[in-house]
């Protein structure tokens, strides 16, 4: 059983909602990223999602675009991101790590080489925003042997037939994009999330985590009542941006911010 699968199973057994924070690796500098990851775990993260900086993040809003730009200004590369994971794993062997980004980053390294290096570093899953299941066969072929899950997105516009197809290709969990839009956008419609999750549960036999529009404890709790977990990104990346001039203060600031969300989720 993969680290992601067992993590989510344990949470489900104890009746808790998974909390999955996202930050962009190397934002604002690569040296601080391992400490940020530990800070997120201290704040209550069950899984950590690390963004791979990319020049053309076409599904991201301004906040996460800016995070990519800060990291790229410091020449952060995919190799550096994998090194961060390796360093994190030296002192944390249990928290699953997911890399999120755009397919060209992996293609740039080469799919086979990426799989080997990511496996060695201790990566547990990848989310490629612009890779639907139909285009995932060659990556799956190299990630399966090293035990890395491919996590796919489903959207409010995903048909029942497609949801079944995605479920067949996915492992670990399925990521429900709560709104039509880009990261950091808009106001989440909890009722729409509830009805869509109800529909998708009949089609997808994997945990369903919800992202896009989770800004704080209140939205996390409202969504968490219907989902197996919540993903929170832009709101945390804003905190990183606000502390970009003093990177050493970022881990504690994120711990503090995430604790509020954790408490809201765990409140009976």
């Amino acid at each position: 059983m993969s680290r992601i699968t067992s993590c989510l199973k344990n949470l489900k057994d104890s009746g808790r909602t998974a909390l999955v924070p996202f930050v962009t690796a190397g934002d604002p500098v690569i040296d601080i990223t391992p400490a940020i990851m530990h800070g997120l775990v201290d704040g209550g993260a069950d899984i950590v999602e690390l963004g791979i900086p990319f020049s053309d993040p076409e599904a991201d809003g301004p906040v996460i675009q800016a995070a990519s730009e800060r990291a790229l200004a410091n020449h952060v590369r995919l190799l550096d991101v994998l090194e961060v994971v390796r360093v994190f794993r030296l002192t944390n062997a249990t928290t699953p790590i997911i890399l999120m980004g755009y397919l060209n980053s992996i293609l740039g390294m080469g799919e086979g080489l990426f799989a080997q290096r990511a496996g060695d570093a201790g990566v547990d899953g990848v989310i490629m925003v612009n890779m639907p299941p139909e285009e995932s066969l060659s990556l799956r072929k190299v990630l399966d042997p090293v035990g890395i899950d491919i996590i796919f997105l489903v959207a409010p516009t995903t048909s029942d037939e497609r949801a079944r197809k995605i479920a067949a290709a996915a492992s670990g969990f399925v990521y429900y994009v709560s709104l039509k839009g880009i990261t950091g956008a808009g106001h989440i419609d909890v009722e729409s999330v509830r009805t869509n999750l109800e529909r998708l549960r009949k089609l997808i036999n994997l945990p369903l985590l919800v992202g896009f529009g989770i800004k704080n404890g209140t939205t996390a709790r409202a969504v968490g009542q219907h989902a197996d977990g919540v993903v929170m990104g832009a709101a945390l990346v804003q905190t990183v941006a606000a502390h970009a001039d003093a990177p050493h203060t970022i881990p504690a600031a994120l711990t503090h911010q995430l604790k509020e969300v954790r408490e809201a989720l765990d409140r009976p």
Binding site: D56, N104, A155
Partner: protein, 403 residues
């Protein structure tokens, strides 16, 4: 539309041209692309739709465009006989309208009241704003802030036509960033918005659909050259940025294996300087903007900044069908520099009384270099994809003149 009895069957039903093409998009957009594919499949053989499209092309765009024998240019170069396919004579001044007319009719059929577009030189933006005005659709055009500066006349044209031009200040502030922003808009407003992609790139079905709409160029040229000379041409030449005018000319000739096809990329300051926009000459296969194709990228997969004197060619990717035609050796892809393109521009001004777009000047420049070595019995068709009025300020600035 597909050529009857053609041996060439691309793309595959899921949108692949060999290893290229496909559909690399966020899940939210897949449903809209499925809908678009289904509707297009239905309409492309629907006699009512085809008649509507043909009437618009004839009555509104002014087709067919002439295939003009460039006698003085031919004499000057002293080699092959040169014919110009005059896409510059279309309404709005470029080939772009062939596609926007078709896609606007699709938007109308889908009942979508709003269209968006990306634009580089502004020609596709103008062509989109034009058809939107005519059909009463709301129109927003994304344009890099760099391009807004160098193409200010087209920006004003779009505004006159009632479109909102939205400056894009992210990334390199050019065409690729405008396309990122248009994709972000579409994923947010997919219910009421159709995205009119301007080149034969993007996720399936766009590369196929744009090719089909642009194939009117090659279909006409084929019939026109047969009428003028009684035989097919020896060589087709077109500039390639995303590659829509080139694929429009090439596609109806793909089965005519004796017809050589040359696509001319923007060599910018020279391929050796790295400051160019020639992914087919100097790129690697990657994924951007919904398709797999040759791409200008560094070894970490980051998309590189490009340079061309011509905003319309200033793009790091290329339509996936060109990548496929390169791989199978059916078409050749070359490049000419900014300076050579300017020489081509001036040569056509003075020999034929035509101001070509700087994009099209790349094709002219390659012909100027290569026609002299060809036999006088050989025939070249060059796609004169657009007119150069929009570039007057750029050219004047190069001459040190402020207008």
């Amino acid at each position: 539309m597909p050529v009857e009895g053609s041996n060439y069957q691309q793309p595959t039903p899921d949108g692949h041209f060999g290893q290229h093409g496909g559909r690399f998009v966020a899940e939210t957009l897949v449903h809209a692309l499925d809908q678009l594919s289904a509707l297009y499949d239905e309409l492309k053989s629907d006699p009512v739709f085809i008649r509507e499209l043909q009437e618009d092309l004839a009555q509104y765009v002014g087709r067919p465009t002439p295939l003009y024998f460039a006698q003085r240019l031919t004499e000057r170069l002293g080699g092959a006989q040169i014919y110009l396919k005059r896409e510059d004579l279309n309404h709005t001044g470029a080939h772009k309208v062939n596609n926007t007319i078709g896609q606007a009719l699709l938007a109308k059929r889908m009942g979508k009241p709003r269209v968006i577009a990306e634009t580089g030189a502004g020609q596709h933006g103008v062509a989109t704003a034009t058809v939107a005005a005519r059909l009463g659709l709301k129109c927003q055009v994304y344009m890099g802030s760099e391009d807004i500066q160098r193409q200010s006349m087209n920006v004003y044209r779009m505004k006159l036509l009632g479109a909102d031009v939205i400056p894009v200040t992210s990334g390199s502030k050019t065409l690729k960033d405008a396309m990122n922003e248009a994709l972000r808009d579409w994923v947010t407003n997919v219910d009421d918005t159709h995205y009119i992609i301007g080149t034969a790139a993007g996720p399936h079905p766009y590369p196929m659909m744009v090719r089909d709409f642009q194939s009117v160029i090659g279909n006409e040229a084929r019939a026109q050259i047969l009428q003028a000379r009684g035989s097919l041409p020896d060589l087709l030449v077109a500039c390639v940025g995303g590659g829509s005018n080139a694929i429009g000319l090439f596609h109806p000739f793909v089965d005519d294996v004796d017809v050589r096809m040359v696509g001319v990329e923007a060599g910018g300051r020279g391929l050796e300087t790295g400051e160019h926009a020639a992914p087919l000459n100097a790129g690697r296969v990657g994924v951007l903007h919904g398709n797999r194709t040759y791409l200008m990228q560094d070894d970490d997969g980051q998309v590189m900044a490009t340079h061309s004197i011509s905003a319309g060619l200033d793009y790091p990717g290329v339509g996936p069908e060109h990548s496929y035609l390169k791989d199978i050796g059916r078409a050749e892809y070359v490049s000419v520099t900014d300076d050579e393109a300017m020489q081509g521009f001036r040569m056509l001004n003075r020999t034929e009384g035509i101001l070509p777009a700087l994009e099209s000047s790349h094709a002219i420049a390659w012909v100027a270099k290569n026609a002299p070595a060809m036999s006088v019995d050989e025939v070249i068709i060059v796609n004169l994809s657009g007119r150069g009025d929009k570039d007057i300020l750029t050219v004047a600035a190069l001459d040190g003149i402020t207008l």
